[in-house]
Structure formats: C-alpha cells, structure tokens
C-alpha cells in the first residue's frame, strides 16, 4: 500500500498538515509520532497565550493541541504513536520502528516533515565551570515539572530570556522555587514583551540584559553560578561578576530545527534557518517532500505554525493527487540589511494564487522601520512597522502581480529604521 501523504511528527505542525491534506482530498494520510500521544511540545506548554490568531481566543498549549487532536479523531487519518522514524529517502520511503508494529518501510506519494526543533544546550555555548547535576534546558525542566510532577530545583537562575525561559521562571516560582535572576546575553530580551511582564515583573524576578554566565561551581550539584556583564562584542567584562547561590541553572538559549532526517535524505538545508530550503508551498528541493513548522524555521507563535503547515498539507495532497506543479518562473529570496533569513527561500510565481506570505526575522530591535523588497535597484514593495525585534517573526504578503513583474530572478528583503 502506498500512502498519499505521510506526516512525520504529530505536534502542531504535523496535526495541521495532516488535517489540511485530508481536507484537500488526500485519502490515505498517516501521522507518525514518536511520543505516546499527539500534540508534541504543546502538551507540556500548560501556560496560556496560544490560539489568539487561529481560534480568536486564548488557549493553553494542551487545549490548542486538543482541538486539532479532536479534529484528527473525527477523520480517518491513521496515527502511529510511539513510532520513531529512522530514515526518509528521496524515493519517499519512510523507515520507522515501534514496539507494536516493529520495523516498517512505508511508501508515500508525498511526505511532510514536521519534526519540530530541539533546544540548544550548555555545550553549544561552552559555559565554563564544573559539570554538576542541576544544569538543564528549560524545556527538559518543563517536562519534569508539568508532565511528570517533579521539581528540578529550589533556587534557580535562568540563562536566556527566550519565551520558554520566561515561562519557566513563573512556573518554578508558582511551584515554590525561588528564581533569583534571568540572565540575557543580548541587550534585549529574546522573548515576547508580555512574557517579561507577566513572568518576571509580576514576581519581581530581575532581568539582567547584556550579561552571561561565566562560571558554574559545585561538584555534585550546582552550588553557585557567576554572571558577568558583557561588552558590545558579547565578551565578559572582568570585575562585573555577580555570584548567585543556587542549585539549578536553566538554559533557554535558543532552538534549533531538528533536521537529521532531512539531511540524511540529502535535502538542501539553509544555513541561516538550519531548516530545509522551501518553496512558496513549503515543498523542499526534493519533489514531493514538504516541510513545515519549527523544523523549517523557529516560530514565535504556534498560530503561524498552523497556518504554514496547512499550506504544506494542502500542497502535499495536491502533489499526491495530481503530481508535481509547474510553477513557472522561480524567484530566489535574499536577505538584505538587518534581515537574518526569509521563508520561503524560493517562490514559483505561477504557484502563487494572489498573495505570497513571506516570513523573516530581523537582527536588532527597531522602532519605526521600513521593510523594502528590492528587485535589483528598484524598490518594488515597502511596508511600515512600528516595532520589530529579533524575538518576533515578521510577515509580509507579496502580491503575485509584483512577483510576475520582477525583472530579475532574485528579490532582496531589507529593513531600515526611519525617523
């Protein structure tokens, strides 16, 4: 049997992609999920703030996932839980293994990669010091606390002000721990402003911007961490050290798309996003293999993951039913000043209905900025924004008409501050 669409990963991206593929007419759709339940990381994100765009109401992570899981249950989408995908091939074979089904090689007309992302670790940023217990990523701590009901520390310092770190600062405080500080390397927070307010300010947790951890002390369990201010080159400034007596250091120092399957399949990866290079319909460079959600680029809001994944699911279904698309002219998107990446990286104009949504991030905080799209020397579109920050994903919509008119095969997205 050949599946129309196999979706790898049953988190928010995979759920939305599978549902949309089904809605678009794909008959045999399968979700492969490595965990015991669908929902992915949302299951441990028990805080609220999800769904304002998609459902127009504020939900917790498990509720947001729950709605999609309910919808999947009401279809004939197949779900294999506790199933790990070991290999994906360009021929669209999926090797997977589970306790109940054993080792299987499945075939599909289209595949959607929705494996999500993983957290950066202590090693990725080479924090000096000893290696005691009590240094863990915020997400791992979140799983212990929210899913399994264990506390992972009593006096806590958090490195990184990404949203997971901020959320865990509040969470640990509510569960009786003392959060001493949140330390951020950059001069601005990596998380959403609302989380600074409701997770740090509400509980009088100090945020030290332009600081980092320069030493971890303790033989068996963390006993102290030492933080120091950093200069403009992010190097610690001697003499600015502060020592915190704590038993735990939580790390919220970034997320990396989980693309080992993608790389092993020989699919081209974009160094900027660390995800696959994708077209306007979320197809990768390999025909019939699509990608969506945090495996493509790390999103700030799950609502945008859902929207992007619906596009991928729709395209995967069309590909399975009708084969590949002839998209006409291909435009490659490049990032200009202050822009760190764009998704999609490539646009086939013939495949764009009216508007092509383009996502990107900036590399600094900006007030009153102008986003420009350049075709060679010519600005073919511009958009105004009151506020841009690296922690937030930005979105513009390019009309097909403009894309068709582009003279070159490259468009550059650039941002500049305006007075």
């Amino acid at each position: 049997m050949i599946y129309d669409v196999i979706v790898i990963g049953g988190g928010p991206a995979g759920l939305a992609a599978a549902l949309e593929a089904k809605n678009e007419g794909a008959e045999k759709v399968l979700i492969l999920e490595r965990d015991r339940e669908l929902g992915g990381i949302l299951n441990q994100c028990i805080h609220n703030g999800f769904g304002l765009h998609h459902f127009k109401e504020e939900l917790t992570g498990p509720e947001y996932a729950g709605r999609f899981i309910e919808m999947v249950k009401n279809t004939d989408i197949e779900v294999s839980l506790d199933t790990m995908v070991l290999e994906v091939t360009k021929e669209k074979q999926v090797h997977c293994v589970s306790k109940t089904e054993g080792y299987r090689i499945l075939e599909a007309k289209a595949i959607v990669l929705a494996m999500g992302c993983r957290e950066r670790t202590r090693g990725a940023i080479s924090i000096p010091g000893t290696r005691p217990a009590g240094v863990l990523t915020a997400g791992t701590a979140q799983r212990y606390v929210n899913m399994e009901g264990y506390m992972v520390g009593k006096r806590i310092v958090i490195l990184g002000s990404g949203d997971i770190g901020l959320i865990m600062a509040r969470r640990m405080t509510l569960e009786g721990a003392k959060v001493l500080a949140c330390i951020e390397l950059m001069p601005y927070s990596g998380g959403l402003t609302r989380n600074i307010v409701q997770c740090l300010h509400d509980y009088d947790i100090p945020l030290y911007l332009s600081h980092t951890i320069v030493d971890i002390k303790g033989d068996k369990r963390v006993e102290q961490v030492v933080a120091a201010r950093v200069d403009e080159n992010r190097r610690p400034i001697p003499g600015t050290e502060m020592t915190f007596d704590c038993d735990t250091l939580l790390l919220s120092v970034g997320l990396i798309p989980e693309n080992e399957l993608t790389k092993n399949a020989g699919i081209e990866i974009d160094k900027r996003t660390k995800g696959a290079v994708v077209y306007e319909n979320m197809q990768t460079e390999t025909e019939g293999i699509f990608a969506c959600g945090n495996v493509v680029h790390v999103h700030d809001l799950v609502d945008f993951v859902t929207a992007e994944s619906q596009r991928a699911g729709r395209a995967a279904a069309r590909c399975a039913l009708a084969g590949g698309v002839d998209g006409g002219k291909t435009i490659t998107m490049k990032n200009g000043s202050a822009v760190t990446y764009t998704v999609p990286q490539k646009i086939r104009t013939g495949n764009v209905e009216k508007l092509c949504e383009l996502f990107f991030r900036v590399n600094k905080v900006m007030q009153k900025a102008e986003i420009e799209v350049l075709d060679g020397e010519n600005v073919i579109a511009h958009f105004k924004r009151e506020h841009l920050a690296p922690g937030e994903m930005e979105k513009i919509a390019l009309p097909r008409m403009l894309l068709d008119k582009a003279a070159g095969s490259e468009l550059v997205v650039s941002v500049r501050e305006v007075e």
Binding site: I46, R194, V197, D202
Partner: protein, 114 residues
Amino acid sequence: MTELICIGCPKGCHLQVDEENNYEVSGASCEKGAAYGKIELTDPRRVVTSTVRVKGASPARCSVKTNAAVPKGDIFAVMKALDAVELSSPVKIGDIVIANVCGTGADVVATRNI
C-alpha cells in the same frame, strides 16, 4: 501617568494610563488593551495555569487553568488550593476541577484529556 506593557496579546503595546483622568489609556491598539490598562492599575488580574495530581495515570499531572483571570493577590492561594486536588481518569478538557476557586468567581478547569 503610569507606563505599562499590555499582556493581552503577543504584540505587547506600550500603554500610558492616566490615573488622574479616570484611568484613560493611550497607546493601545485595541479595546482589550484599553481595558487592560485600566484594570491593571485598579484591580490587576491574571489567569493561573498549573497542574493537579492524577491518580495512577500517565502523565502523573493534569494541566489546569482558571477559566477567568483572578486577582493577582489570590494567585498563590489558588496554587495552594490545587495542592489538595487529585483527579482520576478519565478527565476531559473543560471539566471543572474547583468551582469558584478561593471565592474569586473563576473555576479551575482541566486543560487536557487523560
């Protein structure tokens, strides 16, 4: 005049609230923001999200939330009330775990199925 950052949505609007002038709010980009600005200075409230124990199930905890914002001063009382709860499966999203928790008028409801 007090400056606030709205927590109503991810946008994080910078609000200015004029206490002298009936808590008039400027800087909000929606009605909810304007309402937040006023209430944040007069009767600040938060939705509390946490977990409660589940008897002999996996996962060992069921996530819950207050179905309305509760006074900020009551947050830790709500947390304490949750300590006493133990659910048994099955649990459905929306099941009331504690009605009118701590007299706040809000119910604690389950946010996942177990």
